[in-house]
Symmetry: C2
DNA sequence: TTTAATTCTAAGCAATCGCTTAGTTATTGT
DNA sequence: ACAATAACTAAGCGATTGCTTAGAATTAAA
């Protein structure tokens, strides 16, 4: 009955996600999105409703990408501190774009940019992702049977904040300083 | 010969700084600045040139405020790990506004928002501040004569990234999680 | 082949962006 | 009192923001 879409939503969202990842939410305009996604504004709005809709789908895309390239590896690891340390090093590579510029973590970038005034849908998405990662850290820490639940909670909180620090610091510090950080971070565990 | 200014530049810049601190650079418009600063756009541009000029002065204002309320205390401390740990706790209080919302660190916020595409003047300002803090950490770590220079460099890098992590995480995590982080950070230094 | 449904292009909407400028008001030396 | 200087108000500049819409193009069922 009707005309067919000339694009695949999952494909164009990946382009949008890259743009938000590089530039942040506010600094990414709908004009930039239509160029990068390769579709007209009409198509953007008919597929995703509004700019926030594009961003929410981009967050989901980021989470899926992080799962495949980052989280699943940790999930399937033998566990323990060493596996989590590898996750930290993997994250730095994950955050690099084609020109080796570090974009940080999209989730961390968004918390830092929007903070408390973030839309509730965006915020719950962020909280949900952070909770997933933290739960995984806890699982992997539990492979050491000597640790009490209190120690594990404390160390998981510590790792979460460290990871956010790594995300911001990777935009500003060189690889040597980041390596120092990661090594020191895991000396404390 | 001529009319007098009806405002004091240092006073209105403090208001501007608060606004940039809460909202970030891009999300702070000149219209918002004129309301908060209580002066007309003409006055803003004649005093500070352009929006970037207001921001650069705001960065200087932030640095001065951080010096008085945060850095001088550490500078005058007895030294050692405990003094730096107090600096971390002090920073969290420093980052709270009147409604106890955490704004993070203006310098960290700016790196995270603008990243590589930050103006060179802004970036050198940021690097300079970070260098100051790191130098101070090194000084205070050196009060322990047992530490080798390599250990001190490594630990200073570690503390710098940790502090940035704390800045971002404070916008998202509760006080207990932040306390866990700080305690773990200093456990093995 | 007609017709109804959907997507496309491209122009345009009001609002806001950073910034400027014309004209008025205040302050000073002469 | 007058002239010179600078700071004020307020309107408006072109460009860009997120978003909408009129009309042409494409699809597939009837």
């Amino acid at each position: 009955m009707a005309r067919k879409k000339e694009y695949i939503e999952e494909e164009v969202i990946e382009k949008a996600m890259e743009l938000f990842w590089r530039n942040g939410y506010e600094a990414t305009s709908v004009r930039m999105l239509e160029k990068e996604m390769g579709i007209n504004q009409f198509s953007i709005y008919s597929s995703f409703g509004n700019k926030k809709g594009v961003f929410l789908k981009s967050l989901a895309c980021y989470r899926a990408k992080a799962k495949v390239e980052l989280i699943d590896k940790l999930k399937n690891s033998s566990g323990g501190i060493q596996s989590i340390k590898e996750y930290f090093y993997d994250f730095i590579n994950f955050s690099k774009d084609s020109t080796r510029t570090k974009k940080g973590c999209l989730i961390t970038n968004t918390v830092n940019e929007l903070g408390e005034k973030a839309d509730t849908e965006i915020m719950s998405n962020i909280i949900s992702f952070a909770t997933n990662v933290k739960t995984l850290f806890i699982e992997k820490l539990e492979s050491n049977k000597l640790k009490t639940p209190e120690m594990i909670t404390k160390q998981a909180n510590y790792l979460m904040v460290s990871l956010q620090g790594l995300s911001v610091a990777s935009k500003m510090f060189d690889q040597k300083q980041l390596d120092d950080f990661i090594e020191s971070t895991f000396e404390n565990l």
